[in-house]
């Protein structure tokens, strides 16, 4: 079974975000593989262990995103492609167009990625890739079985979950709960250094900048106003609880 895992490098979830030059500063930020993409890579590896085959990791990002790709290789992926778009001025349309082009040159039965990234949280790149490749997509998957040319996926839906059956090839996006990603072993980290890591640019995919130009234009970055600390209601627990109920009623007028 040939599986493509789509990954993205993001800021560490603990990172403090500051502005520099009117944009989000990348200085001093530790970078990680998007946690939802870790679920995707883990699931790809589990499927490979069960059915045989190979896992190819594809990312779009600057050269430093190599680290995220290496992590996936160290976890057990077989090969990887990093496409550097050569600009920071990208949006989901840009990324999806590039990913779809890179993936279309590969063989695949299943394409899997995180359902969203923890940085821009837009949850649309994998879906867009499916649309470009004319593949079905099942989002927010918490359980996945693949066998006999089809996938059976349990997916979060409005007010519950649904079990969906879909023929391969398909795009799946991983939701928290799908699995517990493994840590790369020391052996895995050593082996990863020898695994193929292809770094390419738009031209190598036959794309030019105008074909992937962002549709979205960011006008301004800002930090949210800090929420002012409110008041601590004094007193013993019972007394404070009564005062709180009263404040919510009479002052905040919310209950």
């Amino acid at each position: 079974m040939k599986i493509v895992a789509l990954v993205k490098q993001t800021f560490d979830s603990e990172a403090k975000v500051v502005l520099g030059g009117g944009k989000i500063s990348r200085q001093g930020i530790s970078l990680i593989m998007n946690p939802y993409d870790e679920y995707a890579v883990e699931e790809a590896l589990k499927l490979k262990e069960k059915h045989g085959g190979e896992v190819t990791v594809v990312t779009v990002g600057p050269d430093e995103a190599t680290e995220a790709v290496r992590q996936a290789l160290a976890m057990g992926a077989d090969q990887s492609i990093l496409v550097n778009p050569g600009t920071e001025d990208i949006d989901e349309y840009t990324t999806a167009t590039i990913l779809a082009k890179a993936v279309s040159g590969l063989e695949y039965d299943l394409i899997i990625g995180g359902f969203r990234a923890i940085d821009d949280g837009s949850a649309q790149v994998a879906g867009r890739v499916a649309e470009i490749l004319n593949l079905p997509v099942v989002n927010m998957v918490t359980k996945l079985e693949v066998d006999g040319g089809k996938a059976v996926a349990t997916s979060d839906i409005e007010g519950g979950s649904a079990v969906m059956e879909v023929p391969l090839p398909v795009v799946i996006t991983a939701q928290k709960g799908l699995n517990e990603p493994r840590y790369p072993s020391m052996k895995g980290i050593m082996q990863a250094k020898k695994k193929p890591l292809k770094k390419i640019g738009l031209g190598d995919l036959g794309l030019d900048a105008s074909q992937v130009a962002a549709k979205v234009k960011v006008l301004n970055y800002s930090l949210p106003p800090a929420r002012a600390a409110g008041k601590i209601i004094p007193g013993e627990p019972a007394e404070a609880a009564a005062a709180l109920a009263k404040a919510l009623r009479e002052e905040a007028k919310i209950i």
Binding site: E92, Y93, S122, G159, G160, V216, R227, A241, A252
Partner: protein, 326 residues
């Protein structure tokens, strides 16, 4: 020629979701500034009777797309019929709610139309003739304003429960346009649906949420939150710590890796206030924290704090609110 603001009227089981009214109010505001009209697209089976209420909430036109195959949401069928409608009508903007369904559908439609999409927006305005959206990024640690200068339609999903709803105008009706459904091929078969049976409102739409964290000490103690939720008509949420401990299901998690909520009142009990949790609830209007640790981070983001043992505070709070509401 692109014209008008189109809103996706999300319904489930024959009931319009509240975010739809939020979209119509926002749509009406920007449409009037642009000198355009606001329409809604309503998709389903036997849903045409809902067109009237969309008119009362501000829709000038309602496009109704009905078909047996559209009874339940499927990404394939809904993308096909909605993208077709948008192509035919060429609206300036197409807005959806950032629910699971809205987010799912929006990405497919945006790509099929070759346009941009801003997800999970918390504000929308018109500046210099452009529709400008505000959205949090990095789990709310930063905020951007952005626009889609050229591609049409401008597409965005709007976070539920954030934008205000204008008073409906009784008797105001919308022009109803029935649109033939070209459902196309549905590649995904739904084998089973597991509904969470709950009398409580959904977290993302609730006006009041009571949420418990590590300080709850175990699943059996969520009864205290349930009791409080009962008197408030609230939804019950949880922090990641409580979910990771296996006390409550992931569907209850509020935060960066859970749900993003914006209720009028959020009561956090035994939640320390990690940045991941704050990301999911800091747009709540009033935040109350109950925690026995004076130094807990949650107090820095709360409007009201009670330093004390939640096992003593919550039962009294429940009783006091019950008395006030009586």
């Amino acid at each position: 020629m692109a014209k008008g603001i189109l809103v996706f009227a999300e319904q489930r089981d024959g009931k319009i979701k509240k975010v739809t009214y939020e979209l119509l109010s926002a749509g009406k505001k920007i449409a009037s500034q642009l000198g355009e009209e606001v329409s809604a697209v309503l998709v389903g089976k036997g849903v045409s009777s809902l067109a009237g209420i969309l008119g009362e909430y501000g829709a000038d036109k309602v496009y109704v797309i009905e078909n047996d195959a559209l009874e339940n949401y499927t990404i394939d069928a809904y993308t096909n019929v909605v993208a077709d409608l948008v192509k035919q009508n060429e609206p300036t903007a197409f807005l959806l709610g950032c629910s699971i369904t809205g987010r799912d559908l929006a990405a497919q439609v945006a790509q099929r139309l070759g346009t941009g999409l801003l997800t999970d927006c918390i504000n929308v305005a018109v500046e210099n003739g452009q529709i400008v959206f505000t959205r949090p990024i990095y789990a709310g640690k930063a905020v951007i304003t952005a626009t889609i200068p050229e591609a049409r339609p401008v597409m965005a999903t709007i976070r539920p429960n954030v934008l205000p709803v204008d008073e409906p105008q009784a008797g105001k009706s919308a022009e109803v346009i029935n649109v033939p459904a070209n459902v196309g091929s549905i590649r995904i078969t739904v084998k089973d649906v597991i509904r969470q049976v709950s009398a409580r409102p959904e977290l993302t739409e609730a006006d009041v949420i009571v949420s418990g964290g590590r300080g709850m000490k175990g699943p059996e103690n969520y009864k205290l939150l349930e009791d409080l939720a009962d008197v408030l008509g609230a939804a019950v949420g949880a922090s990641r710590a409580a979910v990771d401990a296996g006390w409550v299901p992931l569907s209850m998690q509020v935060g960066q890796t859970g749900k993003t909520v914006s209720p009028n009142l959020y009561i956090a009990a035994g939640i320390s206030g990690a940045i991941q949790h704050l990301a999911g609830m800091s747009s709540s209007k009033v935040i109350v924290a109950v925690n026995k640790d004076t130094e807990a981070n949650i107090f820095k983001s709360s409007d009201y704090g009670v330093v004390g043992d939640l096992f003593e505070v919550l039962p009294v709070l429940t009783q006091e609110i019950k008395k006030l509401k009586a």
